[in-house]
Subunit: 208 residues, 4 copies
DNA sequence: TCGTAATCGAGACGGTACGTCTCGTCTTGAT
DNA sequence: ATCAAGACGAGACGTACCGTCTCGATTACGA
């Protein structure tokens, strides 16, 4: 019987949804506009119209706030779904077309750098990092489907391939390479090339 | 030219090499033991037995100190050279065998995370990041040689492959995956696979 | 009588005597052990096992709690009555013998200091201050009796004499004079000296 | 030889007199206008245009600031000197005429209550309390002179008499008695009464 | 050889943010 | 209506560092 479970319930006021919302919204706004290193608890509290203690009561660290923003989809508005048209490379490039504009937008590189900084400092963010851009769920699933369709070798490490693409983006962003889009596409096509004699000619345009 | 005129008439003592050394050594020590976010200028000054102003005089930011430590090889003692035995995959795995122990050592993951945090915050570190683990110089060169030897497709994007490997490591470290070594090896073998008929399965040994 | 009318028509439970008691007891205990400035409403509530609101409902300020503790005799257990043996000075010294041990006990000085701090901050305590050590009631009455008996001049300002004795004690305690007992006795004997021929040295019994 | 004492001198910047001055001035101003319990370090720092750490660097507690204000004469502008006209009671009443207006001024009672609160909380203030109103120095000295002149009995406890007068004032102020001036004068006259008929002439030799 | 000028260790300074504590009010469900 | 519990906005606490500045001592030229 779990009726008396009901009796275990604590009396007293309940967590304020309005406060939670205001805090996460303020966090997302300040994170995007100021960056992770200028993100302060006091600033969030002021922006949200909330006491500091209300933040500390529910989130142990700055990173936990960012992690919640990620989970709630408050940092990236877009949908990172990967289509399945049957053409694996084209579909992944479609995903790239979703991601790249974010990075090329003004402040986009800084946004990802901030996210990396948060992930480096706080494991709560790190846990959500690869998931946050759709890598974990959407991209890996599409690659797995690619194996089923015979477009990718059966033993291909799909998770690592997703991490590799994300990781390449991160390295480029950390290196402040703003013109890396084409090379990223090249890499994806190379990594996902189907095996053909001579290791398969890349498309003529790729081969340059 | 009178650019150097400005410096010609200078009296007084010259920059103290001892101070520079003590500062960078203290920086490296504290960075390794405390991490980037607990690294403070005041802490470095005290540890180095130096005035704060002596640091501010020569380095504009915390990151610049880290960048100098990287350049001086004060953060990673090892040599990240990649051998050239003719077997590309084996050589790259040799490089992996140099890198992985660093990450598996106690605090190794935290060290790389700190480095990433520094790179995210400060472009001076970001610029040296991929270079710092031998990726830029040694790994890319070896991949280029692989193209020459016919072990890699002519159009293979060597720099991006290096970044992809490093990026995968970074993503794994940021995600706090401590057991990712094998999957990293798998990825490298997959990415560097030579084209074979039907593109797979991977070589029998790879296939487990 | 309609004083208790106020309680007759009320719904719900009536004021909890148990809560009142626990709160005042907790207040007294914490006041004595921690001092007035470390006395907090939250601390009292926790110590008493009571909600904060229950305190705020019935007492407007910290000081009101202390004032109630004074009224209930929860701070000083002893009886500050002044005997009337016919010898005024001896009787007042008897009262001193009641008061002084309290101040000489460990923490006794701190206790009176805390009481003074409370009185300085809150008029509710200030109103009970001179009353609390028996000055207002017992000491003044004894002095008045002394006038009747001819041991004190008819116009002697009995209330002010009581205040002067208490005030001297307070000044000594505020000045952290731990050895002021004898000088206090001297003062009392001097202030209450009856005019006698030669008038000094003080009366033979005093001079001992 | 103490020449090498000179070498023990610390290098580096010296304490800023301007900061010290601004801090004490702000402390005095806020103490007088807001009272001790509303006096905050942050408020002082803001008022003085100073960092909090500059206060904490030189003063351990709020009370130490008040004590320094007392020492510098920043709380009471007036001079508490006691004249010596030969008439002891008149002279002491002259001192009363200096003190009473301070207490009768608007906020004067609150000022002394604040001072008492500070003294109760902090020994640094307590040590200066009786000194601060001229009791220790001027009043006691005048009473001592009164003994020399035969207006006071030789064994009179002059320090305690000063404390008694001050203490009476404190008790009156703590009890919020705003009309106590006359009774205070009565007390002083009674305590310092020379022997007269109806309470006994002091001895001829004392009266000298 | 003696200024002159830059560097050095030390640390005070005006600030900002930290994470904790308590305030007094408000809300909840139980009695 | 009162109670225990405790969330809430507010704001002070005392600490840690920031980056700038000032100090006296210490070099190392150039006049």
């Amino acid at each position: 019987m779990n009726e008396h479970r009901a009796n275990e319930h604590r009396n007293g006021p309940v967590r304020s949804a309005a406060a939670r919302d205001a805090i996460l919204e303020a966090t997302a706004r300040l994170f995007q506009s100021e960056g992770y290193d200028h993100l302060t608890i006091e600033g969030i509290a002021k922006e949200a119209g909330v006491g500091k203690q209300t933040i500390y009561r529910w989130w142990p660290t700055r990173g936990a706030l960012i992690a919640d923003c990620l989970s709630d989809g408050r940092l990236f508005a877009v949908d990172f779904a990967v289509p399945d048209t049957g053409d694996l490379v084209a579909d992944v490039e479609q995903w790239l077309d979703t991601v790249i504009p974010i990075l090329d937008a003004p402040g986009g590189g800084a946004l990802l750098r901030s996210l990396v900084a948060a992930a480096a400092e706080d494991s709560a963010v790190g846990d959500h990092l690869s998931e946050s851009l759709g890598v974990e769920r959407h991209l890996s699933e599409r690659l797995t489907a690619g194996i089923r369709d015979g477009q990718l070798a059966p033993g291909a490490p799909v998770d690592e391939l997703g991490h590799a693409i994300l990781g390449t983006i991160i390295v480029q962003v950390l290196s402040r390479q703003d013109d890396a889009t084409d090379r990223l596409r090249q890499l994806v096509r190379f990594m996902l090339r189907s095996g053909s004699p001579q290791n398969g000619p890349l498309s003529p345009t790729d081969a340059k």
